[in-house]
Amino acid sequence: MPHTKRRRLVTTAVAVSLGATALTACGAGDDGKAESGPVSLTYWTWTPGMDKVVDLWNQGPGKKARITVTVKKQASGDTLITKILTAHKAKKAPDLVQAEYQALPTLVSNDALADISDQVGDVEGKFAEGVWQQTTLGTDAVYAVPQDIGPMMFYYREDLFRRYGLKVPTTWEQFAETARLLKKKAPDKDLTTFSANDSGLFAGLAQQAGAKWWATSGDRWKVGIDDDATRKVAAFWGGLVKEGVIDNQPMYTPSWNKALDTGRQIAWVSAVWAPGTLTTAAPDTKGKWAMAPLPQWSAEQDVTGSWGGSSTAVTTDSAHKEAAAEFAAWLNTDHEALNALAKEGGIYPASTSAQLSGAFSDPPAYFANQPDFYTKAADIAKTTAPSAWGPDVNVAYTSFKDAFGAAAKNKSDFAAALKKMQDDTVADMKKQGFGVAR
């Protein structure tokens, strides 16, 4: 026992400051002798219906292990990260938190997440390698268990593609041609829009192109936002916007909804969760859409990016880390749990075996016309490129929204916007005291 404890201490010390780690180790020591009495855990999550899924645990395996979990429903987004970190400062963070993959480095660098590799290491095989790697941050530690993923896909109006004689693009070059062709045939319509109000989309596209926005070399970070792959993506979309063959209006606005619903925009680069969004955004076009793999940068490639997705993590403030890790593993690998998560919360599971089971045998109601929707989705999910997140993704994302939002609106240089995004991110990391290699 003391041996494993020391090993854990060493691994966490890589990522975090020493003083805080000593505290963590003490905390772990208090409940070192496994869980004897009943344990009660709190869990911050934004997934709708999570309370019902947790009830399954509390009445099933949790009852046997005498571990009760209480859900405290939160709002998702960067604000939740701030809230977790504030609570952590007071040593009052809940036992379990839901966190998006890109937020994990921020939480880990603030020493908010516990290494649970001893408890959940054996579930690694249930997840795709690119997904699991996001929870280890390239170390021996494991900071979370993957819950849901958002592999990116290409959605298009099947009927309108047929009407205008368009072929589903398989490469980005064809995608650009399709946009031009549509503009010629129907000048009032756009293939899609370049929107700068959700940075996850651009991050996913860059990831597909092979970008590595953050990497570590030695004890320093390397920021590669302005790398060749991302530059290629930025130039591609900037070119289409400048040419005027795609729209430059942001997504998720009433007018965007209207454009989708009335067929003024006939395609959308999105992710596996798009059916949910389309159901509310474009209710009148139900059954007229189809899903295809994302266009590729070269014909022989088969790779996609991810947009969205989250994990379940155990905090360093938890007095019952082992019990919490046990629950996190159950929630994201147990068959019954994942089925309930899909049904109640509408999530697309990260666990590969769950992607074709139970809840996913039928296509989403909005895509009733595409019976093999989830089979296709599972195939696409397998091709997800690895992603690399850093400790200030939120800053990069904000900078993206500002710089690219302005560039898209003015149809100006996307390369300059990308440079600004890189500079802002590096400047913030330096300000936070991270070593940044040039």
Partner: protein
């Protein structure tokens, strides 16, 4: 030209007799402020109108029909909102009422005591104290939320009703307003007269000064009520249990449900509409206290 004449003639009918109307130029000057005020009214009322109309639209109609065309889904929206997680919305509404009601009452009481004391008594450090308070007025409550959280975490009070109530009881602005109002509304002569008649300080305050301060205190109460009702950051930082959430926070969780769940726009809009109603009712009910100037003219100079 004729329409202009009609427009000028119409308001003239209601003008006070005795003021001779020049043929036009005085009227035309009044046009500018009137237009400005109308513009201001439109500017402030338009979003309210939007919320009212949007709350009548079903999810299907919300983004597809003309913005200011009322929809047909109001009862459906109400039913959905009521059904959402077994009516947790009403819990949030109750919480908001509790935080704002009790918070504003206590805050008004504290403001009345300290405002009266600062206005009536002369003691050492009075001005310093008042200046510190003034600095507090300039300090946005937003930047205090996190320090307050850390303090209350030390005391083990986070995620409780108290954690949201307590920081809002002392309102520097309320004390400031109460002092200004007490200084203007409670003449020293009246306090002096009370002392001559042998009344205790407590009695002078509760029986003589307080009634004179009512209109000012009503203002403090309303300000504080609205501020707490609309407060977001403090409860956001303090609370994690959504059964204790006020409306602002509850509606926010409906909007931010993660990327794979669309925001529940219709519920949020209907919820926001219902959340405004108690404020409107409160203003209509309490408004009459403003004109109630109980003892104005108690002292004749």
């Amino acid at each position: 030209m004729s329409t202009l004449a009609v427009r000028e003639a119409a308001p003239a009918a209601g003008t006070t007799p005795g003021t001779t109307q020049g043929p036009g130029w005085r009227r035309r000057i009044a046009l500018v402020p009137t237009l400005t005020l109308l513009l201001g009214a439109v500017y402030t009322l338009l979003p309210v109108a939007w919320v009212v109309i949007a709350s009548t639209k079903s999810g299907h109609e919300l983004f597809s029909t003309f913005t200011f065309l009322p929809g047909t889904g109001f009862t459906g929206n109400l039913r959905d909102l009521d059904a959402y997680r077994d009516g947790v919305y009403w819990t949030w509404m109750g919480n908001s009422a509790l935080y704002a009601g009790i918070g504003a009452l206590l805050s008004t009481a504290v403001s009345a005591f300290s405002g009266y004391a600062l206005a009536t008594y002369r003691f050492k450090g009075r001005e310093t104290m008042f200046n510190v308070l003034l600095a507090g007025v300039l300090m946005p409550p937003v930047i205090l939320a996190i320090p307050q959280y850390l303090l209350l975490a030390e005391a083990g009070l986070t995620d409780s009703y108290l954690s949201v109530l307590m920081p809002q009881i002392l309102s520097p602005y309320g004390v400031y307003l109460a002092r200004i109002y007490a200084a203007a509304a409670v003449p020293d002569d009246v306090v002096e007269a009370g002392r001559m008649d042998g009344a205790s300080e407590w009695r002078i305050f509760t029986r003589i000064a307080l009634p004179m301060m009512v209109p000012g205190m009503v203002t403090v109460f309303l300000f504080q009520f609205v501020a707490i009702w609309n407060n977001f950051l403090l409860p956001f930082i303090m609370l994690s249990d959504d059964e204790k959430f006020p409306l602002t926070l509850g509606l926010y969780t409906l909007l931010e449900q993660g990327s794979n769940t669309p925001a529940l726009y219709t519920l949020v809009i209907t919820g926001a509409f219902l959340a405004v109603l108690p404020l409107i009712v409160l203003f209509l009910v309490v408004q009459r206290f403003w004109s109630l100037d109980l003892l104005s003219g108690a002292v004749k100079s």
